[in-house]
């Protein structure tokens, strides 16, 4: 469906309101967190700096504001389903920020993030199409049960993959901004190529782009705010939900390939879900030169960060730049997938 002038204005609103919400309210919220003693040590600085954490609740409210605008503008349940999944993931993340959940508890609880999403299908059966569209090859046959099982599995996998990318200054905000931009590109191409595609699906992606862009201002090196698990898990759950409602699952998987490889490396080398605070060997260490070094212990988990640092020690800013380069490559590949899938 081609957007008109009014639609374009509504798109802009669902991007700008969450962006301004985060940018304008973040300083006040950070001061509140610092006053109430909610600060975390930035352990990759010497001496460790105190940073306001968790700002996840503010990011969540920003995303809710954007999705409500998308709902009011286009009247579809898609934005509400997206925010439903994000709410459950945010609540689980907030519980982890406040009480620390176990390494296996979090992924199990995150299965619940699919519940509001699947429940919304009862009210709007076309919330998602139960098939996958591949580049050049076409679309698989629709199968509601199998696809819904994949949807339920997608939430913990993607939310955890995002959470595992939240280790260094600016990493999670920059990664989410890049990946959600690639997702937006795919959804826009889908909307252009499919006349029956609801614009609410495009509008629902914009709050994630807006919130992550606003958060990047405060989270980039040197960080003044950390999102906590409440922010990272919410970002992941929103991304999963938007990929499903936008029908761009394959392009979305490719866009977050660095996060998927990172969680796959971590899980395979740590042999299962281990809370990062309880890992026997750390993947990296801060050297006397103030730079980050890869651990040379063979038993250290092979996180993506360790793999980058195996080429040589790096300052935190350069290390995150390296992760961004890997993400940009993945997003370009994702863009190619979107073009091959939707441009005929």
């Amino acid at each position: 469906m081609q957007p008109g002038l009014v639609d374009t204005g509504l798109f802009l609103l669902s991007f700008i309101i969450p962006l301004l919400f985060v940018v304008l309210l973040m300083p006040t919220f950070m001061r509140y967190l610092v006053r109430s003693g909610r600060v975390a040590n930035d352990v990759h600085k010497s001496p460790p700096a105190k940073v306001a954490e968790p700002v996840g609740p503010l990011l969540f409210l920003g995303a809710v504001a954007g999705e409500v605008i998308a709902y009011l503008a286009f009247g579809s349940l898609v934005p509400l389903a997206v925010i439903g999944g994000a709410t459950v993931a945010f609540a689980i993340g907030l519980a982890d920020d406040l009480f620390v959940l176990g390494g296996k508890t979090k992924p199990l609880l995150l299965l619940l993030a699919a519940a509001p999403f699947v429940a919304a299908v009862m009210f709007q059966p076309d919330l998602y199409v139960s098939s996958l569209t591949f580049p050049l090859l076409g679309t698989t046959a629709a199968h509601f049960t199998i696809y819904t099982l994949l949807v339920i599995a997608a939430f913990p996998i993607v939310a955890n993959a995002f959470n595992m990318m939240d280790s260094f200054n600016g990493q999670i905000s920059g990664f989410t901004l890049l990946a959600s931009s690639a997702l937006l590109f795919g959804v826009v191409l889908h909307a252009i190529s499919d006349p029956g595609f609801s614009l609410a699906r495009v509008s629902s992606v914009l709050p994630l782009v807006g919130v992550s862009a606003g958060f990047f201002v405060f989270n980039r090196y040197p960080s003044r705010a950390f999102d906590g698990d409440s922010g990272a898990l919410m970002f992941g759950a929103m991304f999963a939900a938007l990929a499903i409602t936008g029908g761009v699952e394959i392009a979305a998987i490719i866009a977050i390939l660095p996060a998927i490889l990172n969680s796959f490396y971590t899980l395979s080398s740590a042999r299962g879900f281990v809370e990062r605070r309880k890992m026997a060997a750390r993947p990296t260490r801060v050297g006397e030169d103030g730079k980050l070094h890869a651990s040379l212990e063979p038993s250290s988990p092979n996180t993506l960060i360790r793999l980058v640092l195996l080429s040589g020690p790096l300052g935190e800013r350069d290390l995150v730049k390296g992760i961004f380069i890997l993400t940009v490559v993945a997003c370009l590949l994702s863009g190619a997938i979107s073009i091959l899938t939707w441009v005929h």
Binding site: F134, P135, L137, G138, T140, I250, I253, I254, L257, P258, L261, F264, Y265, S268, A294, L296, P298, N302, L304, L307, V308, L310, S311, G312, L314, D318, K321, G322, I325, L326, V329, A330, L333
Partner: protein, 84 residues
């Protein structure tokens, strides 16, 4: 910062996903004629599930092998030897 090997692994992961998708559509989906009985239907379904699972395992094996190769080659150059 030398990211070329890691970009190579990323591109390999991407190409494998695309290649395996093609294999899935070309070889797994069209498998078997229209079944005449429950036994044949179940057998074909199980073969399809098995082959799809196999494609997933192949992706994991290739990714683990590439990563191990990268880590080993890097550790060899970084770990100080006893003579040094």
């Amino acid at each position: 910062m030398k990211l070329v090997p890691l970009i190579g692994i990323e591109v390999a992961a991407f190409l494998l996903i695309i290649g395996e998708t093609y294999l899935f559509f070309a070889a797994v989906v069209p498998l078997g004629p229209v079944p005449h009985g429950l036994t044949e239907y179940t057998a074909i379904a199980l073969v399809k599930v098995g082959l799809t699972f196999g494609l997933g395992v192949l992706w994991l094996v290739v990714m683990v092998s590439l990563t191990r190769l990268y880590v080993r080659s890097k550790l060899k150059t970084l770990t100080p030897t006893s003579s040094s």
